[in-house]
């Protein structure tokens, strides 16, 4: 006979099954919640890393476009020009030595020309007459000085003729560069800054040092600046010169200058530098290179301005 089960037992079986199912469901929920919690934590960490990387990327972008290029370019330009200024100074010394030797030779040979009597007279005046001039009556003094000036004039003229040709230095030609930038934030030129391969002492100590090739490089560039200003303004141009990083720097306020000042300056530089006899005789060339204005400003100043 088949075993029979009461309805109560049957329903108890169902209740047991339901309890087991509920326990299993609760266990699965705990497991899923745990996994969700872990993944959320990992996601938060990853989002933090993404944000950090984005910030780092922005810093890299900023460094590449501003500090990196501008600061390095500034350093590179001035290092190159400082090196060139040393080279120019060396060439200036060579030229000065050659000029001194030629002057001595011309002076020595002068006394063997038909000027010999005049030179003897000049020397006699300097050694014997000049010290006694103060004791002479004014009319005598005036006559003697007048005659002496005539002697001086004739000797000077002869010397000038003998030394009229610049010395041709037997040396390898060297090319130098100057750089300039024009600030024109609103389109119109406002300020010119030039930096030359010339030691600043050529300008700042001009009264205490003999003029030399460095003096003339500076002077010829200044000449070109003023020639350009005559063509395109500004009216009454007045350059401010001084030293920067040991080099001669020139600034010019360009308020009122025409927009094509830069081209005018390049043209003037070309004409003046190519035709300067003392530069050609020294065996040097000088070319102008226009650069972005910011590259000529010290990095800290550039940051302040931007």
């Amino acid at each position: 006979m088949t075993a029979m089960q009461s309805v109560a037992d049957a329903l108890e079986g169902v209740a047991n099954w339901r309890s087991e199912q509920e326990a299993q469901r609760q266990a699965e929920i705990v497991d899923v919640e745990s996994q969700l919690e872990k993944l959320t934590a990992q996601l938060t960490e990853l989002q933090g890393k993404i944000e950090s990387l984005r910030e780092f990327r922005a810093k890299i972008d900023e460094r590449e476009t501003d500090e990196g290029v501008v600061a390095r370019s500034y350093d590179a330009i001035f290092a190159a020009l400082l090196g060139q200024s040393a080279g120019l100074n060396d060439r200036a010394l060579e030229l000065a030595a050659a000029e001194e030797a030629r002057n001595a030779q011309v002076l020595a040979t002068l006394s063997k020309t038909d000027l010999a009597p005049l030179i003897q007279e000049y020397n006699q005046f300097k050694e014997q007459v000049e010290p006694t001039l103060a004791a002479l009556p004014e009319s005598y003094r005036g006559a003697i000085i007048g005659h002496h000036q005539g002697v001086v004039g004739r000797i000077r003229a002869q010397l000038a003729e003998a030394l009229s040709e610049p010395i041709k230095l037997e040396a390898e030609r060297i090319e130098f560069e100057l750089v300039f930038g024009i600030d024109a934030p609103n389109g119109a030129p406002e300020l010119l800054v030039m930096v030359l391969p010339v030691p600043e002492a050529a300008y700042t100590d001009w009264s205490d040092r003999p003029e030399d090739l460095c003096t003339y490089v500076g002077a010829r560039v200044v000449q070109a600046v003023y020639e350009a200003s005559k063509q395109t303004g500004p009216v009454g141009a007045q350059a401010a010169c001084g030293g920067h990083q040991g080099l001669l720097a020139i600034e010019l306020d360009l308020e009122g200058a025409k927009p094509d000042f830069a081209q005018s300056l390049l043209d003037s530089l070309k004409v003046v530098l190519m035709s300067a006899p003392e530069l050609a005789a020294a065996g040097i060339g000088l070319t102008a290179r226009q650069v972005d204005f910011d590259l000529l400003l010290p990095p800290e100043l550039d940051e302040e301005e931007s």
């Binding site: 003096t215 200044v222 009216v235 009454g236 141009a237």
Partner: protein, 162 residues
Amino acid sequence: MLEELLPTGLTETARRLGVEPFEVVRLMVATDTVSERFSATDDHLQKLMSFGEIESGWWEGAELPDDANPLRKRVRAAIGLLLGRAAGGTAIRMDNLWRGLGLADQVVVEEALNILADEELVVIENTDSGVKISYTAAAEEVLRELASGKSDVEALTEVYQG
């Protein structure tokens, strides 16, 4: 001895004019008289001096006011010179006011005049002949008080401290 008869160049021209070498260059360009090595004959020098309105000797015989501060004494005297030379609104060449002084005094006078320009008591302008300075009638009384020592300008204090 004959060395002193050798041809001269830019530096000697600057010394004879009493200006710095690059001002010689500017004047020669302005007058279309750029010479070889920027040297100048006596006539050329006269032309440059005339064009540039360069004068010297303004301090010869000039009386300095009594002042315990030697820098203020010099500045007050310079303002006095300015009042006399630029009377009636005349613009005068600015470096004439310190030409002939020692380097330290030159710097002090130039700095003081630039400060007076910032204070709008004098007007400094670039012209073809050079940098010029003038003063307006409105500023005259203040400048006279400065020259006499009756008043002072706060901004000049730093100059007086050297």
